[in-house]
Amino acid sequence: MSSVPALPAFRPAGVLGAARKYLRIFRVSLVERLAYRADFLLGTVLRFLPLVTSVLLWSAVYRGSGNDTIEGYTCRQVIAYLLLVHVSRMFSSMPGLASGIAREIREGTVKRYLVQPLDLQAHLLAYRAAHKVAYIVTSVLPYAILFWLMRGYFEWPGEPMVWGAWLASLLLGFLLGYLMEFALGLLGFWFLEISSFLYLVNTVSFFLSGHLMPLDLFGGRMAMFLKELPFQYLAYFPASVILGRESTESMVRGLLVECGWCLAFFVVGRIALRFGLRRFSAFGG
């Protein structure tokens, strides 16, 4: 590789040049995604319907229990939570990322990252960020309508700090979700077919992240254990912040720990990429 002289046009001009390069990838991907907005809208609308059944189920549960609160949650808070995890997952879910990487490895197309002045991790991050922006922009309207319809379930916090922490936790959730999926996808260097394994991980993550119900409801040690795992930052933590259930201290601590997890998965990804590329052999011309 070192024998190939780098073309001047492709030589990255420092950090600024790199930033410009990935910004351009971001823009191209954004245009590509916005071509399918009708599909997005239909998907979003259909995703709301299970919410209706969830609201009904939890109302029935609280009616049956005769209590106003379960593990400190009122019925309205549980329903608000279930809505808010959708916002968390809007940022943190990465459909097709790991399986896409595994496919590129299997089919050998990943070799282009060896010859082009592109870093796999940075390139896919820019690409995903564009997808997320397109997705979030097209879902704002349906979500706004939904939140407005269900406004009775919410008590929004007054302090700007909570809102800031929420935003930070969502953005970090995006980063953590990306870095975790990226590291998973690199397993493709060692295993030929990982799609069913990925499916399994996704299913477990759906549960561990608190998408199904607030983690606190599992009670006692189980809830404590689940809150030690990185998965909670993908859904539970941001929702818990904006519901006003976290103290300033626990909010700051949570964000710091989340940064720690991001760093950990970033390093895992770098190491796996390095070792993976070393054992990688591309086929075909």
Partner: protein, 278 residues
Amino acid sequence: MEGGKDAGIRRGLGSYFRLLGAFGRFSLNREMAFRGNFLMKVLLEVVWLGILLLFFHTIFRNTSRIEGWNEYQYLFFLGCYYALEGLIETLFLENCVEFGELVRTGNLDFFLLKPIDEQFLLSFRHIDWSTAPKILIGGALMGFGLWELAEPVTLARLGGFLVALASGIAMAYSFLLMLASTAIWMVRNQSLMELWWLFSSLMRYPRDIYEEPWAVLIQKVFTFLLPALLVVSVPAEAMVRILEPAILGWTICAGFMMLLASRWVFRKAIRSYRSASS
């Protein structure tokens, strides 16, 4: 034309059963070529069931009833849902999804030429054995629920359950078949899976939870217009709760009507099929 074909090459019921057996064997062979994958899929179902059980266990730690369903009655309901969904996935889901692909590629021609009922052939062609364990798991859950309830299973309850279950399967199958048939006119029907998912998410909870004032309209629509709410609820009610003759009657009736409607839609679709070749 239609009558001529039917009269000329009408086969006995036996040949349908023989063919079904052959489909089953062939699909099983195909599945066993990728054993690791098969085991992974089964493992996934077990994990998913574990999550569901934990979910409902957590709920029932805090309440003794959900709209009149106690924990073991609910377990029976869950088992019924699991078994029914497993059955639909094993027999029909893959076939209906692939129907669109057959239309798009024009390969449907080969199926129409076969001397057997097209709907039978296209509905049962592939049997997805990897989801079959769900039927057993669901059965086991129902058995466990009944055991814990320790109420005698009367013949009337069992009969009601079986008839309602058959009607539920008929409704779910008919809905899928009608969705699949639209592929003829639309060529691509990617929303099939999503609409099926919507239908199955309506089956997932007992119909009693729709008693809230704002949800009554949803309950009425999905009871009388598109009876998704009856599919699992009515058989489970018949077995472990109250056997209501009126709703049971309507379920049987709806099952029949949907079966006839889907047959009609399917035939109409096939008649307007133009092959993809030039």
